[in-house]
């Protein structure tokens, strides 16, 4: 829906990638019915390069890498996209948006379960966002489109078809209504046209985190698939033990909302950082480093991290995912743990 708004109001010229155009409209059908959507060859390097070229020539491209797992042959191009402005001493901007499904949770096995945020956070010159609900996805996508820098929009696969609590401004309240309006019918689609609801502009600024639960016992920094899990654990732990948590949904990986994070750590003195990416050289470790740099003497107990295991992949049988990527019981235990330790 954000892309529809983007092409109608924000100058998006091209929405493209593998299976992005008709008939499929994306492997998660997120690009169905867009008038600027087109299918590309099966070539991620071509997709990124073409997006860069479109941007050079004044277009506003939103391209998709079908799964973030398939972006790893193009990291050089991402580095180049991120450095064009700096290399040209400010002469060239690079207003591209790259969107890609991220993370585990859909039984995607070895090549459809990777997380990309830790890698992406190393790409100076890029902004990286990861919504955890449909409204934020809408607002962050509109921000990404309006930002004149390269923006990577990481979409947690596990949340892509979950309905949010808050509607997008202008969205029909009944999701069946919406489906009838914009989902392509099964079968012949030659004459089908989507009937877009008149959605409104809603921007989630890049670099603004959201405090999804407010509390005093500890600070929980998280993003993506783990956000609803941390929120749920906060509710349960409040009921069970009376502990309350600042649960912060980062939303932007880079730049991140250090102001909010820092004030919360100062307030609670206890810190848990939870995410599903692998644990060696994880972006959460960067946030921990910032916390140590600036709040070492504010911390009442040892800060914790909860991350995916350092393994070459996430296996197909559910036992692999359950034992290598944080699940709800792990999240809850870690949150309990950080408040249980005496200061």
């Amino acid at each position: 829906m954000a892309l529809h708004y983007g092409e109608e109001h924000l100058g998006v010229t091209d929405v493209f990638g593998e299976d992005v155009g008709p008939p499929l409209g994306g492997v998660f059908t997120a690009t169905q019915g867009l008038k600027t959507a087109w299918n590309s060859p099966l070539d991620e390097r071509g997709i990124l390069g073409t997006a860069m070229g479109i941007a050079y020539a004044g277009g506003k491209p939103v391209c998709e890498i079908q799964f973030c797992d398939y972006a790893f042959n193009s990291i050089d191009l991402m580095k180049v996209a991120g450095n064009q402005r700096w290399c040209s001493a400010g002469a060239f901007a690079m207003p591209i948006v790259v969107m890609t499904p991220n993370g585990a949770g859909i039984r995607g096995s070895i090549y459809h379960s990777h997380s990309f945020e830790s890698w992406a956070s190393r790409l100076a010159g890029w902004k990286v966002v990861m919504p955890s609900n449909p409204l934020d996805a809408y607002g962050l996508m509109l921000a990404a489109i309006q930002d004149p820098n390269p923006v990577l929009v990481l979409l947690p696969k596990a949340l892509m078809r979950v309905k949010g609590d808050q509607p997008i401004p202008g969205e029909p309240a009944d999701s069946d209504d919406l489906g009838r309006m914009i989902d392509a019918p099964i079968g012949d689609r030659t004459d089908w046209r989507p009937n877009w609801p008149a959605v409104e502009e809603y921007i989630v600024p890049i670099g603004k985190a959201a405090r999804v639960r407010e509390g005093h016992s500890a600070t929980v920094l998280t993003w993506g698939r783990l956000v609803p899990l941390c929120a749920k654990a906060a509710d349960e732990l409040a009921r069970e033990f009376g502990h309350t948590y600042d649960v912060i949904d980062l939303r932007s990986i880079f730049p991140y909302d250090w102001d909010l994070i820092s004030r919360s750590i100062e307030k609670t003195g206890r810190l848990l950082i939870a995410n599903e990416d692998t644990e060696v050289t994880n972006f959460g470790e960067h946030l921990l480093r910032r916390a140590i740099d600036e709040h070492f003497y504010d911390l009442l107990v040892k800060p914790r991290t909860l991350m995916g295991k350092h393994l070459p992949g996430i296996g197909m049988n559910q036992v692999y995912e359950d034992n290598s990527v944080p699940q709800y019981p792990d999240v809850k235990a870690a949150m309990r743990d950080i408040t249980a330790e005496p200061a």
Binding site: E18, D19, G21, P23, L24, V27, N39, S40, P41, L42, D43, E44, R45, G46, D69, Y70, N73, R107, S109, I110, Y111, H112, E279, V280, K309, H310, L311, P312, G313, G315, M316, N317, V319, Y320, D322, N323, S324
Partner: protein, 371 residues
């Protein structure tokens, strides 16, 4: 390995003989190509088995016994004809296989039991290819040089020149077979394979097989590729190539035999493109419904064999039953087999190493203090 010039053929194979269906002709023909009846029946039987296995897999993905199905209904002719002609074994004297994810027919043709396929589909601990870790059809068999199948499209193409280099150095007739879809040839890796296997004076025995089903998921080949026949990408490199009807096992058998003979003896690359069908869509993610619009190599071959008096409808039904039973048995067997446990998760991350102070044995998580 038999074709009509094969010394293993008995005179009976050449001359025809009397079977239950009456007089059985010696050969089955398609245009200029011919195939001995015996080979035709072997190919047919393996095609039937492959189809039965795939249909069982689709069912399991719908019933929840499996999470995901992908496979090759519509490619049986190519896969089986290829598999039956592979020179199988371990090491550079034998063929290396760098496969796509639709190649069950190759493995069944080579002699892999259905059970080995179904175990991966069912994600059991007994899955010999990946211990329940990888998608179905992602084989890995060191004793037959089947290197691990990877979902990342086209990376197999850059590995094939490496195995072929060792084979050329080793001597003998071992070749490296790299299988690719059509859409995947848009990745630069397809070109890398052509370039690396044709370096002047260092030509390599790589047989590239492109199974062109006209689609990459939802995208038609014609909408993205000006190259009509992908095999023609070999031209600028002076690499020999051929494009064939992959729905006709007689044509395929002979084309594979010719291509293999060339690569085995000349120690040079060859690109074989087979036009095939995709009978159940891309994968279970797109529903895996049967598409009745596309030509079915199995139905066509069955009709041809019946029309030619090579086999009759009863025999076909019996073969089909037999194959279905084998697939059903495999499904029943795996249902009772152990699943991987939490302790299995990190196993095999690193090979034991005498020069590693931290992981002399298997991987056990991040480095720890020694006691």
């Amino acid at each position: 390995m038999a074709d009509s010039n094969d010394p293993d053929d008995t005179p009976a194979d050449r001359g025809g003989r009397l079977g239950t269906a009456g007089f059985i002709p010696a050969v089955v023909r398609s245009g200029r190509d011919a195939m001995s009846t015996e080979v035709a029946l072997t190919v047919f039987r393996q095609m039937v088995r492959t189809r039965a296995l795939e249909e069982r897999g689709i069912k399991m993905s719908k019933s929840g016994e499996a999470y995901f199905w992908i496979g090759g209904p519509g490619e049986e002719a190519v896969n089986v004809c290829l598999g039956l002609q592979v020179n199988k074994g371990a090491g550079p004297a034998y063929d290396y296989l760098h496969l796509h994810y639709r190649n069950a027919g190759i493995l069944l043709g080579m002699g892999m039991p259905m059970l080995d396929h179904v175990r991966q589909l069912a994600m059991t601990a007994t899955d010999r290819h990946s211990m329940g870790r990888n998608f179905v059809g992602h084989y890995a068999m060191p004793e037959w040089n089947v290197v691990p199948v990877t979902s990342v499209i086209e990376v197999q193409m850059v590995m094939a020149p490496g195995t072929a280099l060792m084979q050329k150095r080793h001597g003998g007739e071992g070749i490296s077979i790299a299988v690719s879809g059509d859409a995947g040839t848009a990745e630069g890796d397809f070109e890398s394979c052509l370039l690396w296997s044709s370096r002047p004076g260092n030509e390599l025995p790589v047989l590239t097989v492109v199974t062109n089903n006209g689609y990459g998921i939802s995208v038609t080949h014609d909408s993205q590729h000006a190259v009509k026949h992908i095999a023609r990408r070999a031209d600028p490199y002076g690499i020999r190539h051929e494009t064939i009807d992959g729905n006709d096992p007689v044509v395929v058998w002979n084309a594979v035999a010719r291509a293999m003979r060339y690569v085995r003896t000349q120690r040079k690359p060859f690109v074989l493109e087979a036009m095939v069908s995709r009978l159940h869509g891309h994968s279970s993610s797109s529903g895996a419904q049967r598409n009745w619009q596309e030509a079915d190599c199995l139905a066509l071959f069955e009709q041809k064999l019946i029309d030619g008096g090579v086999i009759d409808a009863d025999q076909v039904a019996a073969l089909r039953e037999e194959a279905k039973a084998e697939a059903d048995d495999a499904a029943v067997t795996v249902a009772g087999e152990p699943r991987p446990t939490p302790l299995d998760v990190p196993l095999g991350t690193y090979a034991p190493s005498a020069v590693d102070a931290v992981y002399p044995k298997d991987y056990t998580g991040l480095p720890q203090r020694r006691r």
